[in-house]
């Protein structure tokens, strides 16, 4: 299991300690549940995905472990630089408290919320009046996930093919060497050109290693899209809850009115049975009305607070979403630029090698 050691910048009780991947997962789950309106930074992938043939899919592979380490460090930096999340006590103790951190997390009782949240995330329900911005955003996050995973898949195939092209050139190295043995004047030129072909073939390993970092940057946003989606879903959930509550209140009010006025406006089984089997006594009716009135009052208060909750959520969530959007645009722009730089450097290396080879050929 990958482990990570972090150091604290502030004067903390512990300077650095060890954490396993599962503890990072626990931390993130806690944060996601406790701050549902925040787009919580994602963890690096659990298993190596989008591999091209040379990269092993083994979790113990040193390259994978190293890239995971970088990903985990990045996660912590993201949380630490978030205006809201960085203040969380559990996060703080994750960084500073050696023992008993797990228990501390469990004591918060977030698990209960986590379970229901998980169910809700996957449930299907229809919301009548969602905030249009969230609907659009959810649609966007779905598309983003789809396009980035497509991109990563194709990139892996591209890397695979490029690897093949470079490596076959290595065969030139060997055959030029063999050929040079039977030549007189051409021998030296062929031999040294062959050496450059070997260099060319070997250069692809470093090039593709660097490209993995670019892929990792894209992957982070692939997973971020998931977090974005979760926030949208939370809004939908709250909105649905609100709508259900409002609906319930309306029907209760209606029932109350019907009982009070004696008119049956809506069809109900109770109404039918009472028609068939006889009406209630006035005392019974009074009691019912009283219960309903209490419920209605409760319901109205609940509805009020739910409304408030909903509006607060929308406000704070949207604020964080704006923050996230800017972060995303900035980060991805930088990622694309560094990708372009990588490509240019690869071309320059190619030019260098072939120029050297050409010189060798010219001396034939």
């Amino acid at each position: 299991r990958a482990v990570e050691s972090q150091s604290e910048g502030q004067c903390a009780p512990v300077d650095s300690l060890w954490r396993r991947y599962s503890e990072f997962e626990l931390l993130r789950n806690y944060l996601s549940v406790t701050y549902p309106h925040i787009v919580v930074p994602p963890l690096p992938e659990k298993r190596a995905d989008f591999v091209w043939h040379k990269l092993s899919a083994d979790n113990m592979d040193p390259d994978f472990v190293e890239r995971r380490r970088i990903g985990l460090e990045n996660f912590l930096l993201r949380v630490a630089s978030h205006p809201v999340l960085c203040q969380d006590k559990i996060f703080y103790s994750f960084l500073t408290q050696e023992g008993g951190w797990k228990e501390m997390v469990n004591e918060t009782g977030f698990q209960l919320k986590a379970d229901s949240r998980l169910k809700a995330l996957n449930a299907t329900f229809r919301v009548k009046n969602p905030d249009k911005r969230f609907t659009e955003l959810k649609h966007y996050s779905d598309e983003l996930q789809s396009v980035i995973s497509h991109l990563l898949r194709v990139r892996a195939r591209v890397a695979d093919r490029l690897y093949g092209v470079y490596k076959v050139h290595g065969n030139y190295g060997r055959v030029f060497s063999e050929w040079s043995a039977i030549e007189k004047e051409m021998g030296d030129g062929l031999q040294s050109a062959g050496h450059h072909m070997d260099v060319y073939a070997a250069s692809i390993d470093d090039i593709l290693e660097e490209e993995e970092h670019y892929a990792d940057q894209l992957k982070e946003y692939l997973f971020y899209a998931e977090a974005l989606r979760a926030v949208c879903r939370k809004h939908e959930l709250m909105q649905y809850d609100l709508e259900m509550a409002a609906q319930d209140l309306t029907s209760k009010k209606q029932q109350c009115e019907e009982l009070a006025t004696g008119t049956v406006r809506t069809f109900s089984l109770k109404g039918m049975t009472s028609k068939l089997f006889g009406q209630e006594t006035p005392e019974q009716r009074e009691a019912k009305i009283k219960v309903l009135e209490e419920q209605i009052q409760e319901g109205e208060e609940q509805l009020k607070s739910k409304n408030l909750e909903g509006r607060d959520f929308v406000k704070s969530a949207w604020a964080d979403i704006e923050r996230f959007k800017e972060q995303k645009n900035h980060d991805l722009k930088e990622a694309l630029i560094s990708y372009a730089v990588m490509q240019i450097s690869m071309c320059k290396k190619g030019i260098q090698v072939w120029t050297n080879a050409k010189e060798c050929f010219s001396k034939m």
């Binding site: 396009v147 092209v165 050929w179 039977i182 071309c347 030019i351 072939w354 050409k358 034939m364």
Partner: protein, 406 residues
Amino acid sequence: KSLREMPHPLATSSSEEMGPALTPSPDLLLPRSIADKDLSLPNGTPVDTSSPASSSSLLNRLQLDDDLDVETRDLFVTVDDPKKHVCTMETYITYRVTTKTTRAEFDLPEYSVRRRYQDFDWLRNKLEESQPTHLIPPLPEKFVVKGVVDRFSEEFVETRRKALDKFLKRITDHPVLSFNEHFNVFLTAKDLNAYKKQGMALLSKVGESVKYVTGGYKVRSRPLEFAAIGDYLDTFSLKLGTIDRIAQRIIKEQLEYLVELREYGPVYSTWGGLEVELSEPLEGVSACIGNCCTALEELSEDMTEEFLPVLREYILYAESMKNVLKKRDQVQAEYEAKLEAVALKKEDRPKVPTDVEKCQDRVECFNADLKADMERWQNNKRQDFRHLLMGMADKNIQYYEKVCVT
């Protein structure tokens, strides 16, 4: 002319090199076989003998040398302008063969005739027959698998035209072959078919060709140098075959890479459609990848059209050269057998019988011709490959430069 009467390439000790730039020979009509050393500038730079029609930038660099050479060359041949002919019996392509010359052997200074592949093939066979001691340049492959390759596609016709052009230029540059009678007729005759028919009837003419016994004799002591040449050609063909396979594999891998790239680029475009601020950079990346695809396509095309044919041509060349070596062995074997027969007779003869003498001469002539041709071949080969490999390097450099710019 019979072998004995032809001026021997190595007859004159030409240890000094001709300086064509300094003293243009007054009698350009002298058979060039006397000044057999490869034309080179006083500073020793070899002269490039590849087709002037080539568009390689490398050739432009050497054009200067060519210009100096023009003064001593007296025969120029070009193959171009392929045209399709449709007849009831068949469809075929003819090429225009243009000749410019100041040689006395030619009646006119300029000729322009149309020839088809069959005619080139006929010429090559005639040259092999009439100059068996020389290395005849190869022709591009005769047979093409129908259905796999389109015989009339622009690409195929152009590749063939280049090879035919090279074939004729190599003969033109050869001090002995360029004076061959059949070559002359090939370049000049309006109706080649009539001449061909005439030639068939004269097969038995003595002096036209020297008869060679096929098989039956084994060489006792093959001179080391020819054994070495044989070994060299074997390894050479092998290595070229390997390089051909590697190059093909690279092209295949490049094309597969291209396929993936073609899918890769548009994904960035799709993503760009989702975004607002990132839309421009993402579209930019997509466009770049598109340009990379184009550059890669050009590279693969160049390699297929320019690099591979030359490799194949040299493999064919090596094959025909090995055949010439075999013939040389046979001639020597015949001589050795005759010599042995004479020795066995144990008669005290002051003079060796004339036919044995003739054999000896034949062997010596063959050896000499072959040696001279081998030297020229080695030099030309070196230049050709230098040009070829530099071209390959250049193409790759250009590819990377294009990608860099995008």
